[in-house]
């Protein structure tokens, strides 16, 4: 089996991640912040250690600025609905995942779009003009989940910081694939999943706040138990507990902690190099195959293509017959497909566990089915 669907979730997990999840369930699966006994406190220690690691990973040393959620989607919903409302002018891109697009629409924002496929200079020029026209926030992805395209996060952050525009970044496809530093890059709120490039397990996401962002201006999405100040009718005033109503996904947090250790040990540059090697090999292999078209094809953590004249779902099903796990369709990003493959495409996405032999085998299979 060749697993090429790592943009959906990384299937092959490091041994230490599996062990961390199992070990947590075995001997520390209490409810953090819901008691003072030894098991609750062991769970709390695990959560706090992960806050520190995750914050440091993204350039934030204060663990109270790391808020856990149930997913990256929940993190984005919390950030968007907590900061933005009806009529707020918001800049976003034309390649956003529905986890950005739909919350912005649901919040009633006045959405202005820039072309994220236009190249870095043009992106910055468009965003600069949109900010000049008045904007409360920029909400966009750091990297597309459809094409091997990343956005100039640092430069976008600089544009926003200089003009007082809130910057909410979707790190779903960037976390663990390339370096993001919330402070250096002037991101106000970075939203990430645990189970993709950080090699954790599903069920956990996070918001990482810049120390420069005033969390007082943000409403919680969820209200409920926080383990402190239980007689108060409102949520705690400060993060992280302000945004963490209910029991945390502790097993996934324990796994994430081990995942961050793994990524730190291998190194983001090395992970990125390996993923690019795989994608480069595939692009070279298929360059003579006129029956296959790659969209925005350049080395990266993912590639997107179609076999000419064949519906994408049929291609993915054929790949599956040969043991290749790939994802077809619109990838929850309908806007990204509009100008390239309106009926959808096949995405193959890589992790550090994929090999060059798998890339070669994939090319052989693609030649057979195309």
């Amino acid at each position: 089996m060749i697993y090429f669907d790592n943009a959906a979730t990384s299937y092959q997990k490091p041994d230490r991640v599996k062990k961390a999840a199992a070990s947590f369930i075995e001997d520390r699966c209490g409810n953090p912040g819901r008691g003072g006994h030894i098991i609750a406190m062991k769970a709390a220690e695990t959560v706090y250690e992960c806050r520190k690691k995750l914050g440091t990973f993204f350039g934030v040393t204060d663990p109270s600025l790391v808020c856990f959620t149930g997913s990256c989607t929940e993190a984005l919903n919390t950030a968007i609905s907590g900061c933005l409302g009806k009529g707020d002018k918001v800049i976003t891109s034309n390649i956003e995942h529905n986890s950005v697009r739909r919350p912005l629409i649901a919040a009633g924002c006045d959405i202005r779009t820039f072309d994220a496929l236009a190249g870095e200079d043009e992106i910055l020029s468009q965003v600069d003009k949109l900010i000049a026209g008045g904007a409360k926030a920029l909400v966009c992805t750091c990297a597309s989940n459809v094409f091997p395209v990343s956005l100039p996060v640092r430069e976008l952050g600089r544009l926003c910081r200089g003009r007082g525009v809130l910057f909410i970044a979707d790190g779903a496809q960037a976390a663990g694939h390339f370096d993001i530093d919330v402070i250096r890059d002037n991101v106000d709120i970075l939203c990430i999943p645990a189970h993709k490039g950080l090699y954790g397990i599903p069920g956990c996401g996070a918001m990482i706040f810049s120390p420069l962002f005033n969390t007082e201006r943000m409403k919680p999405l969820l209200y409920g138990g926080s383990g402190v100040n239980s007689r108060e009718s409102s949520m705690p005033f400060y993060p992280p507990e302000k945004f963490e109503a209910g029991t945390l996904p502790t097993v996934a947090i324990a796994a994430l902690s081990a995942g961050i250790d793994f990524v730190n040990e291998v190194g983001i540059d090395e992970i990125s190099r390996r993923e690019k090697t795989i994608s480069e090999r595939i692009l070279n292999c298929v360059s003579n195959n006129d029956n296959v078209v790659f969209y925005h094809g350049k080395p990266g953590s993912l590639l997107c293509f179609n076999v000419k004249g064949v519906p994408c779902e049929k291609t993915a099903a054929a790949l599956n017959e040969y043991g290749v796990c790939a994802r077809a369709g619109l990838h929850c990003s309908p806007d990204a497909h509009k100008t390239t493959a309106p009926d959808g495409a096949v995405r193959i996405s890589f992790s550090v566990f994929n090999t060059e032999a798998e890339a070669d085998a994939f090319c052989d299979i693609l030649a057979l089915i195309s």
């Binding site: 912040g33 008691g35 383990g227 402190v228 007689r231």
Partner: protein
């Protein structure tokens, strides 16, 4: 041994307080405190030896971790 206690706005801040004391070489333990004095309900704090009270307070100020002292 007599102890002194510091209360924090949340469990995370209690851990931040403990980190500050660890960095200063002061032994401490996170505990659940009664919330009755503040009328707010449950809360967390840290316990230190009475002899470390002054140094602990200084460390918490130095590291910028807000706290209160329960009666």
């Amino acid at each position: 041994m007599k102890h002194r206690y510091f209360a924090f706005s949340s469990l995370t801040y209690a851990y931040k307080g403990k980190d500050a004391l660890d960095n200063t070489g002061i032994r401490s333990k996170i505990i659940r405190l009664s919330g009755n004095e503040t009328k707010k309900g449950c809360r967390y704090g840290i316990e230190v030896s009475e002899k470390d009270n002054f140094d602990a307070k200084s460390a918490l100020y130095k590291y910028g971790v807000p706290f209160t002292e329960p009666l």
